[in-house]
């Protein structure tokens, strides 16, 4: 699903080594926490997966696509294989909950008929069926993040990438969001959660990859074969 081979990233603007020779492998259907303090290289890691940045060295494969030599016009098709959840929700304030989710389907050219069937189903899945006609400002942080999650899910991606999804919501709600992600994971979607909340990570028994100073310093789920290399 995601394969990093000896990946390094140096930003040309300030010469900072954001990632230093990182190799890791995430299989289809896994649930992985990426942890580390801020500036450790987590954001760079995500940007490389989304192809917002290209690696300075090494090779990256995501959903069978080789990113280091990917053409610009192919990038949208890579993005369609992943649903992205942001820390700040990134909901469009003048659209209703329904419209925000439908927007993601419109963007990839889905038919009106398909949109009308799919959006209510997804809103039901994240427990927001009754809030479809509300605007984001009328919702709590946790609810907004669930809308964001619904939007990420609606195009049926092979994986969900959540960047600090609990960063802007209170702890109880945080727990709920991770539960929901865990539920989605059980249906076969690969889930990648970037966070710095160790307490939250501890309460779920999932694979945890820790990044510090641009290196992977621990990986609870690392396969034996991988260690041997």
């Amino acid at each position: 699903m995601i394969e990093f081979k000896n990946v390094s990233k140096v930003y040309s603007s300030n010469g900072a080594h954001a990632l230093d020779n990182v190799s890791l492998n995430i299989e289809k259907g896994e649930f992985v926490f990426i942890v580390g303090s801020s500036g450790a290289g987590k954001s760079t890691f995500l940007k490389l997966i989304m192809h917002e940045e290209t690696p300075t060295r090494g090779s990256i494969t995501v959903n069978d696509m080789h990113l280091e030599k990917m053409k610009r016009r192919k990038v949208p098709y890579l993005r369609r294989t992943m649903g992205i959840v942001f820390q700040d929700f990134r909901l469009i304030s003048k659209m209703t909950v329904y419209e925000n989710v439908a927007f993601a389907m419109r963007c990839v050219g889905k038919k009106n008929r398909t949109i009308k069937k799919r959006v209510p189903y997804i809103l039901d899945l994240v427990g927001l069926k009754d809030k479809a006609q509300d605007h984001p400002s009328e919702l709590s942080g946790g609810e907004q993040q669930r809308v964001s999650l619904a939007r990420a899910l609606v195009n049926n991606p092979a994986m969900i990438i959540a960047d600090e999804p609990t960063g802007n919501i209170d702890p109880e709600m945080s727990y709920e969001i991770i539960e929901l992600l865990s539920e989605i994971n059980k249906r076969g979607t690969t889930v990648l959660v970037v966070t710095h909340e160790h307490e939250l990570v501890k309460s779920f028994n999932k694979r945890v990859i820790t990044i510090e100073n641009g290196r992977v310093i621990s990986d609870s789920g690392e396969k034996e074969t991988f260690v041997a290399i």
């Binding site: 989304m50 192809h51 016009r73 949208p76 469009i92």
Partner: protein, 301 residues
Amino acid sequence: MSFSSFGYLIKEGFKNIWNNRMMSLASIGVLVSCLVLTGSAVMLTVNVTGIVNEVEDKNVTTVYLDDNISELEAVYIGKTLEKIDNVTTAEFYPKDEAISAYRDVLGEEVFKNMTGDDNPLPHAYHIIMEDLSRYDETVKELLKVDGVAEVSSRSNVAEKLTSLSTLVTVMSFWIIVALAVISLFIISNTIRMTMFSHRFEISIMKSVGATNAFVRVPFIIEGIIIGLVSAGISIGLLYLLADAVLKAAEHILPFNYTPFTEVMWPIIAAFVGAGVVVGALGSMVSIRRYLTHEGNEILGW
């Protein structure tokens, strides 16, 4: 692209204009001014050229023959004159006719004895030239013909009109070029504003996998709509304006002016075409920045 998507994108284009209506209005205003000026330049060129042609048609050059030439010889010379390049017609003007014309003006008594062989006037030809700008070389050719004594000098008005016509055509051309560039700049600036206010949506669109073409379409449609609306308004304005100005001009100088309705369709076609092209081009120029950037860079975070 599916039908649903296309309908959605067109709706978004209209929404952009409405949400950004002050800027849209401003650019429609500027575009309308540009198009009305362009149309006025075209109308001016068409009419000045029309007037010059009309004057050329009326502009008769008189060729006087030698005194001792008989009527029969004169007819023969006439044939030679007609063959000269740039001469459309050569109409014989016998001296009898000339003297009776003088008599009509000055009274019977004065020219009483000047009939028949006593007529002191020479035979003449009235010549119409095809192209007045070649007047001088044609006169040289006329004077070379045996039996031609003199050629009347050219009308001053025609000379001035010809140079005016050239001046107006050249000026109109450059005015139109300058205005086209200004319009392009204005539209691309308006679209840039819209894109700036939509940068958040654009970043989301890209993160969920919208293609660049998809992101671009509403903005191109916005540009095209601005172009089309401006074309419509300026055609209406020109229609009213040209009518009023030409009516006023007819009172001062009675010429057969070309009315707007006669040249309307090519102008409408050109305006609609220009509106679409300028709108589309202007928006494409300003979209580039947002399509070559990714994620937070779009938002400037």
